[in-house]
Symmetry: C2
């Protein structure tokens, strides 16, 4: 079975001997590519009562607004990853205070760990993946131009626990799968 | 640079063009193997005041006791993964009630999501990765034969929030890296 996922490397889907699940195997060198869920780390960042949002310069959803978030790298903690993403996307040195939510998007096997964070000083600017970064009051948030469902969820979940210190992290809203 | 991680497939470490980080590349077919943190899902499972533990039949740490836990699979939620692992390792149908902890082991880029769960009925038996499964009161837990540091942490963190319903999930104990 050719999968069409490229013309080189692991691209044939079959069950390797001793395994029970189909994997992508390279027909030239027999390398097996074990695919695993991917972790995204990010944060709802506030300065006073305003929210830090970044306008995406890259696909998917270029031109739409998001919270700072991205793929967790090797050898970092989720907390360090969320801080790194805020630096990369908004040149923002954030302070994380709680885990706000863990969302799952099963279709693309993505797990998002979203923290609650604040900006000690209003210093920020667009990183390479953003064309603009701004602080928005709740009523100023460009709700029609939000990049992903999980950003909607995270902003609303933030409001639900504003001022609370001990709470269980949120998960997907009932029945929501996170796909656009 | 040969990495010695096998004699076929992606095994040469270099920075692909357009990238900024070293990746493992296959010298035969140029396939790039993007490595990502791995997610482990599991649960501290109780029946009454006893804890469900599994004696590992496989390496690493064969013969030592663990809570049901394993790698999250594609297209499942962390909750579903934790339930699946309890079935696979202990033939146990668990009910999950809260996220107990998120541990990180940066050296091996592993993130563990450990839930708090209960067993509605005392039905369980060893799965293929266990030689034994049992219920242990706190004082009966074989503390000297626990497989991994994270199992110690999870059992102790469970005790700290016994009876509490809204709490922030624990993380690694101060300074602990999770390596044996
Ligand atoms: Zn190959
Ligand atoms: Zn190859």
């Amino acid at each position: 079975v050719e999968t069409g996922k490229g013309e080189r490397g692991p691209r044939v889907r079959r069950v390797p001997s001793g395994d029970s699940v189909e994997r992508l195997v390279c027909p030239e060198c027999n390398f097996i590519n074990y695919e695993n869920p991917l972790m995204v780390v990010g944060a709802v960042v506030t300065f006073g009562d305003k929210f830090l949002l970044c306008k995406r310069s890259i696909e998917p959803r270029a031109g739409f607004w998001t919270i700072p978030a991205g793929y967790m790298e090797l050898h970092e903690t989720p907390l360090d990853g969320a801080k790194r993403e805020a630096v990369e996307e908004a040149n923002a040195a954030i302070e994380i205070d709680a885990l706000l939510a863990i969302y799952t998007i099963p279709r693309i096997s993505q797990v998002q760990m979203i923290y609650r964070a604040s900006l000690p000083e209003p210093h920020f600017s667009p990183g390479p993946e953003s064309t603009d970064v701004g602080l928005f009051s709740w009523d100023e948030i460009p709700w029609q131009e939000i990049a992903f469902p999980t950003v909607h969820w995270a902003l609303n979940h933030f409001q639900e626990v504003r001022g609370q210190s001990a709470f269980a992290p949120f998960t997907n809203p009932e029945g929501a799968t996170g796909t656009l």
